[in-house]
């Protein structure tokens, strides 16, 4: 078995009296696509942020590709890990191309290499190359999130962290973008950790679902494995939700026709 891409051991994180993470250990192998699911406040976003140093654990260790993150400059860590989140956070004063090339620029790439990389990434996320010269405000929500993904991939990271990446999009765009990203994950052999509260999305896109509840991991495995082995009623309810929804949907559509 190859060494894990991400390894978290006994992570604790407190905000005042509230324990956001209460002894979490998680190992993600290279090439895995893992979903972190759970209710609001379960600690899934905090867990994601401990991986790239946007949050620092009070106790426990974080290793990325075998190296401890503690004691390293966080900005250097983040330049090696792609990060996509729901609000996207494109820089409104920079063009799409400048947004995409930001991490390469911080890494000191030359101009020609950056320009070539921007074209390559626009092709990859299925956006016309002309948008490189536009400002983010001129794009639609779906296009903006594609730019967000392109920006995260720009410096060729091996790991991508995503926090509800498609949460603010309409359902059609959301499905399309999800499928496109899954293909990219395969094509680029990425390791992806994605936070979502949508179990359907988790089941459809990822290989492994990790369920958090009150700062602890309560289930971890493929969706089928979890359904077979879990005894936690909340976990079962979460896993059942997509199927129940699908059945209700079918039932309603049949009555309507």
């Amino acid at each position: 078995m190859p060494s894990p891409a991400i390894e978290l051991v006994d992570i604790e994180k407190r905000y005042g009296a509230h324990a956001a993470l209460d002894g979490v250990s998680l190992s993600v192998g290279p090439g895995e696509f893992v979903a972190l699911v759970g209710a609001s406040g379960s600690g899934k976003t905090t867990l994601l942020k401990t991986i790239n140093g946007l949050a620092w654990p009070d106790a426990g260790t974080v290793r990325v590709t075998g190296d401890l993150t503690a004691g390293r400059a966080p900005h250097e860590l983040r330049r090696r890990i792609g990060y996509v989140f729901q609000e996207i956070g494109l820089f409104p004063h920079l063009t799409v191309g400048e947004n995409i090339a930001i991490t390469p620029k911080l890494l000191g790439w030359d101009r020609a290499r950056m320009a070539a990389r921007v074209d390559e990434l626009l092709d990859l996320v299925a956006l016309p190359r002309e948008v490189a010269a536009r400002l983010p405000a001129a794009l639609s929500g779906g296009q903006r999130q594609r730019v967000g993904v392109a920006r995260a991939l720009a410096a060729q990271p091996a790991i991508l962290l995503m926090d509800e990446p498609f949460g603010a999009l309409d359902p059609v765009t959301r499905e399309e973008l999800g499928a496109d990203y899954r293909a990219l994950h395969e094509k680029l052999s990425l390791t992806t950790v994605m936070v979502t509260h949508d179990m359907t999305e988790a089941v459809l896109l990822t290989d492994r679902v990790v369920v958090l509840k009150a700062g602890r991991i309560v289930a971890d495995g493929t969706p089928g494995h979890l359904l077979a082995t879990s005894r936690d009623p909340d976990v079962l309810a979460l896993l059942e939700a997509p199927r129940r929804q699908a059945e209700r949907l079918r039932a309603r559509l049949e009555t309507a026709s």
């Binding site: 946007l54 996207i88 409104p92 004063h93």
Partner: protein, 518 residues
Amino acid sequence: MSPRVADAFALLSEYLGWHVLLSASALALGLLISLPLAVAASRSPRLRWPVLALAGLIQTIPSLALLALFYPLLLALSALSLATFGQGFSALGFLPSLLALTLYSMLPILRTATAGILGVDPAVREAADGVGMTARQRLLQVELPLAMPVIMAGVRTAAVWTIGAATLSTPVGQTSLGNYIFAGLQTENWVFVLFGCAASAALAMIVDQLLGLIETGAARRKRGLVVAGVALLAVGLVAGLLPLASFGKPASYVVGAKNFSEQYILAELMAERLEGAGAQVTRKEDLGSAVAYRALAAGELDVYVDYSGTLWTNVLKREDNPGRAAVLAELTTELKRRDGVIVLGSLGFENAYAFAMRADRARALGVTSLADLAREAPRLTLGSDLEFLSRPEWKGVDAAYGFNFKAERSFQPTFMYRALSGGEADVISAFSSDGRIAADRLVVLTDPKGALPPYDAVILISPKRAGDTRLIEALRPLVGAITVEAMRAANYSVDRDEGKATPAEAARALERNLSARP
């Protein structure tokens, strides 16, 4: 062009140059201090409140007072520095003006920059961290560029305030467009006042518009507008400062003047004598009364004219009145001993508080002295200037003669003379060298009890010029050479409403009328 407008234009390049230099330096320094402070305040809520509150507090201090307060502060610092490092610095002029205006410019910049940085979308800030920026890169590449339009709005406000408030640096000895306004107010030369206001307003408007261009460019992300705005500002700055290069020659003498016509005329008289002796001269006019003496003692002025009674009470803190000659003699020894200041001598006239009446009225009542006036007082109205009734001179003379006027009324000086001629006042508190005494044919009442302190006009020379024979020889002929009548005529030529002379013209006329030394 009328001659007064031409006079004003002749001074424009010098005044404008200093005004531009002063306000640009204050604004630049204000930005240099405010921006880092705003960044710190936006990072720390605990720092934010005290910083913004302090800047707000400074803003509530009237700007003239803020400027004036820096003078004693810097004087003390200079003395400290002289004692510690053996090197003092000038507490008058540019430095206090610069510091006060810098403080003044800080609030709008601090407020808008703090709000601008705090207003950056948290998602954008998170993205900046997420893509791997250091805190410094995040500030310079994301937060400041995004806050720039808001910050520029603050810079515009600060620029307009600073340019306006810079006119107030004249009384602390810094040349600015305020020289027109302060000199004009004193000599009732309204052309000068308007000219100064218009020049300062025009400067503020042009700078505001150019900064507005940069603001629009920053907001619409149009680099061309930003570059154009910056380039035009730079051209304006250089054009404004260019004339200063030729004024930059170090002057060998600094002649001071307080803020009224007689002082302007006497400063001009002394300056032209020094120039006649081949010296370079800088004039510092419109100085506050207390500022002038301290500046002279500190060597920032070389020479100016003060009055014996003022020095007696304000500098030596004396309340007795041993008589004109004794006051003069004691001042000469005491100022020399205390501060090393040389009293070169009396010019020959007094500018004292004096009670004046219309000649016909005085004759009808049979009043020639203050003793006579006390007898008639219950039937008479006293008109005074705005401060006389609260000054020690009035308390002293009132105690000596026991006046019991029917009424006491205060006027602005111009209206005080009109009230006397119109009969609304029967007797007024005038200044004995005021030109209007002769012009209105007023009678000055004698003071048999010697209750009014003497106010001999004396030439004071700074300690560092005590052995300067060129200076002393150029000015010594003025001692005892100006009669009160000659001074009144000179003052009147500047103060009258019709056919006004400039202080320089009046000084030249006075020079021709010097009486032979006694």
